[in-house]
């Protein structure tokens, strides 16, 4: 699974400190192996966003404030957002476990305080992942994203931590002469 170079979609806007219990309430952890089912309940815990997942069109983009995904370590948080059809998350900043989980899943997330501030719900966005540029067609504006360290970009490009581990296991087998 390789990432597309350019992602287009409509923006959904959320605030600061959206925690994992709001992204996917713990009661849905029983569906931890079912991305579609998780997707139906994404962001259900955010007051006023009940039923949100049903309004998402495949490819839409989620834009949030600072410390997005704080709280639990549950990997079902980014999985639920992906399961709802969101192609990409942009935030002012991320809580660290949510950030790791997304990178490990090969799920594109971007950090852009500029975009988090300026984008309004419903804006039509285009994101150039290679150039690190977010274009807001509704506002005729452009925002920069913050660069990730090369290792994280490599993980994202190769599709996450799974292919990285496969490669490393293979190297070990070769080294062990098996």
């Amino acid at each position: 699974m390789t990432l597309p170079k350019v992602i287009r979609g409509r923006a959904w806007k959320f605030g600061a400190n959206i925690d994992t219990d709001q992204i996917i309430p713990a009661k849905y952890a029983i569906y931890s192996l079912d991305e579609k089912e998780l997707g139906k309940h994404a962001m259900e815990g955010v007051p006023g966003r009940e039923g949100w997942a049903g309004q998402v069109s495949a490819g839409d983009i989620l834009v949030a404030g600072s410390n997005f995904g704080c709280g639990s370590s549950r990997e079902i948080a980014p999985i639920a957002i992906r399961g709802a059809g969101i192609s990409l998350v942009i935030a002012d900043s991320y809580a660290r476990i949510f950030f790791r989980n997304a990178i490990n899943l090969g799920y594109p997330i971007l950090q852009s305080p500029q975009a988090a501030e300026a984008v309004v719900e419903g804006d039509e966005l285009e994101v150039d992942l290679e150039q690190g540029i977010i274009r807001d067609f509704t506002r005729s504006d452009e925002y920069r994203t913050e660069a990730f360290p090369p290792f994280m970009n490599e993980l994202l490009r190769m599709g996450g931590l799974v292919p990285w581990v496969r490669r490393r296991l293979q190297e070990r087998r070769v080294a062990a002469g098996r």
Binding site: N17, V46, S66, N67, E75, R100
Partner: protein, 427 residues
């Protein structure tokens, strides 16, 4: 280097590391539970193609979040967790009724030790840092990687130093101190950073209280919380530690991003008000708030010393009409000790519901989930919307003595209103 940097340097085979470095580090101990082992096991075996785990003697698995199974789906998660642990030969597997909440079970069994790099597929894995190790929460794909390889990538964090001068006053507990600190710096105040806690106040609190402080590092967004090794650490580990260990200390010239200084003596009893752990208020501001439920439980505040204080307050009293008190010990060993000391009898006589050891109500799982509009005072760690049930339930966080006193009166109450003085020796 700081303690955190020294552990990460040793684990990654480097002379030294600096904040911002991306490293590949060897893991000394790893933990997963009934919500995180099923996905991690599936990813490890089916996607990564690993057929065994790197070192079964360095892995613990607990059945704690939705166990004893709360419904058929969680029974399946329990079964997958059990089967994976059996198939992989996990040495430290804790069945329902024999373990309890991971973050109590690992320290009490001497499985997480000074100088080590510990990861757990649960955000409160930062708890273990009270034992002078680097411990952090990870996701399920992360855990699959660790189980397959015994190593994982990390970004070396900047360290924030928290110095606590003087001693905590009577009634004021470690919980009040950490709620106060989170209130000062905010839920992202230590985002992705290390919180190093030092100072006079920590010399006068026991290991269980120290675990409460590091437990809530994640509520400030931190990567880890860590304390210095001292006599109290050594005494706690004597007879428990399952491996030899090497303590670490920060160099006198270590670089800190920022140093925060607090006068512990000035910290009052406090709570976090709804709907965020950083919504701190002194107890006096919320006294009299009407309650529907009081919950004493969780990896934050339900070890034996917490239950002793709750029992001291409840002794000879009844839970007020219109309120329910639920008490969940954080481990089976804690429950056994509570039984020996007669604490359970005190709880039952007071009219409290006493449950088996589980994460239970803390994450809105089972045995104490809140309904719409209900108000709860809880000794847990998080009160974001929906954490304990309905998104419109209101959760206040406090220490166990405040929780117990409030159950007696039905409103948020200072424990001295119910008990003149905490008996000497109750820690």
């Amino acid at each position: 280097m700081t303690m955190t940097e020294k552990i990460l340097a040793r684990a990654s085979g480097r002379e030294s590391v600096s904040p911002g470095d991306l490293i590949l580090a060897k893991v000394d101990f790893a933990m997963g539970h009934d919500l995180t082992i099923p996905p991690a096991g599936k990813i490890m075996r089916e996607q990564m193609g690993a057929d065994k785990i790197w070192d079964p003697s360095r892995v613990a698995v607990t059945q704690d979040h939705f166990q004893p199974a709360k419904d058929a789906a969680s029974a399946t998660l329990g079964r997958l967790t059990r089967e994976f642990s059996h198939d992989m030969g996990v040495k430290w597997y804790f069945e329902v009724g024999q373990g309890g909440i991971c973050h109590t079970v690992l320290p009490e069994n001497g499985l997480v030790l000074p100088g080590e790099l510990v990861v757990g597929a649960d955000s409160h894995s930062c708890t273990y840092g009270a034992l002078n190790n680097f411990a952090t929460g990870i996701g399920s794909t992360d855990l699959a990687c660790v189980l397959a390889l015994g190593e994982l990538w990390f970004r070396v964090p900047e360290t924030l130093k928290f110095v606590y001068h003087n001693r905590l006053q009577e009634w004021v507990e470690a919980k009040d101190l950490i709620l106060y600190v989170i209130g000062k710096i905010g839920v992202d105040g230590a985002r992705s950073k290390a919180m190093e806690h030092v100072g006079e106040a920590l010399k006068h609190i026991d290991m269980e209280a120290r675990l409460t402080i590091t437990n809530m590092a994640i509520e400030a967004g931190a990567k880890n919380g860590i304390l210095e090794f001292d006599e109290i650490t050594k005494e706690y580990l004597d007879g428990r530690a399952k491996r030899p260990y090497t303590p670490v200390s920060s160099d006198p010239d270590a670089d800190y991003e920022k140093v925060f200084e607090f006068d512990a003596e000035a910290v009052e009893l406090g709570v976090a008000k709804p709907m965020s752990p950083d919504n701190y208020a002194p107890l006096s501001e919320v006294e009299g708030t009407r309650l529907d439920q009081v919950f004493i439980g969780s990896c934050t505040n339900s070890r034996i010393t917490d239950l002793r204080r709750a029992a001291a307050v409840l002794e000879g009293h009844k839970v007020a009409d219109g309120v329910r008190l639920i008490i969940t010990p954080s481990s089976h060993q804690v429950a056994i000790q509570a039984e020996r000391e007669g604490l359970i009898g005190t709880f039952l006589a007071a009219g409290a519901a006493w449950t088996t050891a589980t994460c239970g109500a803390c994450l809105g799982g089972h045995m104490g989930v809140l309904g719409e509009g209900e108000v709860c005072l809880s000794t847990t760690n998080r009160n974001f919307p929906g954490r304990m049930g309905h998104p419109k339930a209101m959760v206040y966080l406090s220490n166990p003595a405040v929780a117990a006193a409030s159950a007696v009166t039905g409103v948020i109450t200072h424990p001295r209103e119910v008990l003149k003085k905490m008996p000497a020796g109750i820690r």
